[in-house]
Symmetry: C2
Subunit: 414 residues, 2 copies
C-alpha cells in the first residue's frame, strides 16, 4: 500500500511501468510522455488537456441520445424513454406530451386565468398575481388515461417500456393551491363542480368535483425548479395529483364553478369507458396502482448469467405505493422488491429486485400494491371487468419474457 | 351560473359579446371572426391556430432566460440562479459548476474506475460493470466549500442569491453504493482512509475516511433521471452526501485504500481552514446547516404593501432540517416558517413564510436548525470562531434589507 506522499499516475500506471522497465528503461520521463502520447497518434487521454470552461447553460454529453418517441397521426403525443431513466425524476425535456390541437405559444405577460360562476368575487388573475400567493411544491406523476393500451389490446412482443407505458412521467410541480384561490374568490357553499378550460385551440375542458379543489389541486407554474415547459401548459396548468392526465388541463384559462358537471365534449365523446355489460364508466378520474419493469426490458438483452438488478417504476393515484412484488416465473411465486426512498404519495416509486439468471427462460412481472390495499390486477382480471371496448386505464400487470439467448420480449406470450 | 351545456368562449367573450350587440349585430359569426382577427392585424390569440407538434426533445419557452453566472479567472465556476427557481430540484443544465482544470471529455466506453491498495481483489470496473450492481437513487444537495464567501468577507449590498450562495444545487443522484464495491473488492479491516482521484487534468484528489464509504457514499452515474452532465463528472463521480463539494470527486478514476490520509495538494494547500488561534481546521468535510431567503431578494423589489410569500432554501450536511425560523426585524423576533414536504436528509428543503409588508423598512433573515440540534450561526458568531483568514464553510445567517421604496439589498448594513 501507498505510504508515500500522494503521487499522480494514470489508471493504467502499473501496466505502463512494467512496459517501461522491459523495453524503454533508459528513456527519460519526458521521452516516455512524448512516445506515450505522440502528437500525430490517437487523442491524448482526457486527463491531459485543459478541459472546457464553465458555461451559462449545460448540455448533455454528446454520447447521450435520449429522445421521446413522437406518436399519433396528429403528432400530438410523445413518450418518455422509461428504459433509459434512473430514479423517479423525468428530465423536463423528456416529460411525455399529449395535446389535442398542438402546443400554443402563450405570452406570459398576456396570460390570464378567469375564475367565475358560483363565486362571490369573479376574478381574473394574471401570472404575477398567481405567483404572489403562497407557493406549494410537490412531487407527482402524471399519466395519460390511455397509457398502456399496447399492453392490453395489442400485445406485440417488440415493444419497449417507452412504447408500452411512456405516457407517464414525474416532476416536482410548484404553484398555488386551488383551495387558496377558492377562498380568494369566495366559492359558494352549494358549488359542487367546476369546469377547467384550457387556452389551446382544442379548448380542452373537463368537469371536476369541487372536493378535489379543496384537497390537493393546484394551479402549477413550476416544473422541476423552473417554469413549466410549453408542452406542459406554459405558463400555468391545472394539476390534479393522481388523476388522469387530461383532467390536469394545460394552458388553463378559465375555472367556472357550478352545482353540476358541464358534460363537455371531452368527457362525453372521450374519456368515458364502455363496459361489457353495456353501461359505461364516466368521470373515472383516479389512475389506479400500476407498475412496470423498465430493466431488463426489450430491446435490451440480459448479456450473461449471474446477478442482475431488476428495476422499474410503480405508482398509484390513490396515495403511496406500499409494496411491489416481483415474479420471475410468470406470476407463480412472488417476492417483495426494495422500494427506493422517498416513497411519496401519487408519485413514481422506484423499485429494485436482485435476480440471479441461470440461463433458463424466465417471465419477469411486477405487481404494485398501494396504501389503500388495492392490488394491480392481471391482464385477464382487468379484461374480465372492463372488456375490450375500452380505451383508458390500462393498469394490468406487465410481463417480460427473457429467452435463453438473453433477448427480452414484451408480454406473456412473447 | 351556467346550467347550459358547455359553451366554448374566449376569456374575453363577455366583452366581445357586448361589442357585437352594440355595433355589429347584423354581422354573421363568420364575419365577426374575420373582423375580430383580421389577417393584417395583431396576431390571433393562442387559442386560434393549431399549435406546435410534439417533439423528440423539449425546450424552454423563449421568454424563460435562466442562466448560470460564470465566475472566476479560470472560468472554472458557474452559479445556480437560486432566485429564479422553485421547489428543491435544480434543473441539470443549471446545476452549479466548480472545476480546477476544466471539464474533460471522457468517452464512456473508455471509462474505467480502478479500486486498489488495501483490498483483496484490486479491480478495474468499466461503466457497464458499475451499472450492473444494484442501483440506489437519493436526493441530495451539493455545495462548494467556498460557497457564500461574499456573505462573509465582502458583504456588498448589490448581490443576488445567485451571487451570494449560487454554488449549491440539488439533484436526484443514482449510482452504486460504495459499500457494495467495498465488499466486491474485499477491503482490508485495517484500511481507514481512501484516496479519491479524478480523471480531469487537475487530477483532483482527496483523502476520505472509510466510515463515509460504509455509510452513504456512492459512485454516481445518474443525475435527475439521466446520465451525469459532463460538468458534474460524466460518466461517473464520487458522491459523499452532505460533504463539501470538492470531496465529491468528479470523473472519478481511482480509489486507493490505505490506513492513513494521503495529504494531497488539494487538502493541504487548499480546503484547510486557518483559525484565529494560529491552528487550522483540516478535513472539515461536513457542510453545516445553512439557509438563505431567495425571495424577496436583490435585484427583485417588493412592489406593494400587503402579503408576500417569503421563501428560500435550507440544508444541512448532517441530516434533515428540523426547523427554519424567519425574522423580519433583523433577528429580534423569530417565527417558524413552513417546511415543504418532503424534508429529506442532506437535501435542500424549501421553506415559506407569509409576511405582510406595511411599507416600513424591514430586515429579513432566516435561521436553519437541523435534526442534530445545530443552529445556523450569526455572522458575528462565525467570525469570532473562524476569523477572517478562512476561505471555506460560510454558513452564517444571511439578511435582506427591504427599503421603504420596496427595493431589496443584501446584508444587514445594506
Amino acid at each position: 500500500m501507498n505510504d508515500q506522499p500522494h503521487e499522480r499516475r494514470e489508471p493504467d500506471g502499473l501496466t505502463r511501468r512494467r512496459l517501461v522497465a522491459g523495453t524503454a528503461a533508459a528513456i527519460g520521463l519526458a521521452m516516455l510522455r512524448r512516445s506515450a502520447f505522440p502528437q500525430t497518434g490517437p487523442a491524448p487521454p482526457p486527463s491531459r488537456p485543459l478541459g472546457g470552461t464553465a458555461t451559462v447553460l449545460g448540455a448533455r454529453a454528446p454520447q447521450e441520445k435520449l429522445q421521446r418517441i413522437v406518436f399519433g397521426t396528429m403528432h400530438g403525443m410523445s413518450l418518455t424513454p422509461l428504459q433509459d431513466l434512473h430514479g423517479i425524476i423525468t428530465p423536463s425535456d423528456l416529460h411525455y406530451e399529449r395535446h389535442h390541437a398542438g402546443v400554443p405559444a402563450i405570452d406570459p405577460h398576456e396570460y390570464k386565468l378567469l375564475i367565475h360562476g358560483m363565486v362571490d368575487r369573479p376574478t381574473v388573475f394574471d401570472l404575477e398575481a398567481l405567483k404572489r400567493f403562497p407557493a406549494v411544491s410537490r412531487f407527482h406523476f402524471l399519466e395519460c388515461s390511455g397509457n398502456g393500451s399496447s399492453g392490453y389490446t395489442d400485445v406485440r412482443p417488440d415493444q419497449s417500456p417507452q412504447v408500452v407505458d411512456g405516457l407517464t412521467s414525474t416532476s416536482e410541480w410548484t404553484g398555488v393551491s386551488l383551495s387558496t384561490l377558492l377562498r380568494e374568490v369566495g366559492v359558494h357553499p352549494r358549488a359542487t363542480w367546476f369546469l377547467a378550460e384550457g387556452g389551446d385551440a382544442a379548448l380542452m375542458a373537463r368537469s371536476i368535483p369541487i372536493a378535489k379543489a379543496w384537497d390537493d389541486a393546484m394551479i402549477a407554474y413550476g416544473q422541476n425548479g423552473e417554469a413549466l415547459r410549453p408542452e406542459q401548459g406554459y405558463p400555468a396548468r391545472l394539476l390534479l395529483p393522481g388523476w388522469e392526465g387530461n383532467t390536469n388541463v394545460k394552458w388553463i384559462r378559465r375555472l367556472e364553478f357550478a352545482d353540476r358537471p358541464f358534460m363537455t365534449r371531452d368527457e362525453t365523446s372521450k374519456y368515458t369507458d364502455p363496459l361489457p355489460n353495456g353501461t359505461a364508466r364516466m368521470f373515472s378520474f383516479v389512475m389506479d396502482a400500476k407498475s412496470i419493469i423498465t430493466s431488463p426490458a426489450y430491446p435490451a438483452a440480459v448479456t450473461g448469467h449471474g446477478w442482475w438488478d431488476v428495476t422499474g417504476l410503480a405508482w398509484s393515484g390513490r396515495g403511496r405505493i406500499s409494496r411491489v412484488d416481483v415474479s420471475t416465473d410468470g406470476g407463480t411465486r412472488w417476492s417483495p422488491a426494495v422500494l427506493e426512498q422517498p416513497v411519496l404519495p401519487k408519485c413514481h416509486t422506484r423499485f429494485t429486485f436482485p435476480w440471479k439468471w441461470d440461463g433458463a427462460e424466465a417471465l419477469l412481472m411486477s405487481r404494485a400494491t398501494d396504501e389503500t390495499g388495492y392490488v394491480q390486477p392481471t391482464l385477464a382480471e382487468l379484461r374480465r371487468v372492463r372488456g375490450l371496448g375500452t380505451n383508458y386505464h390500462f393498469n394490468n400487470m406487465r410481463a417480460w419474457r427473457v429467452r435463453r439467448d438473453g433477448s427480452v420480449l414484451f408480454g406473456l406470450e412473447g
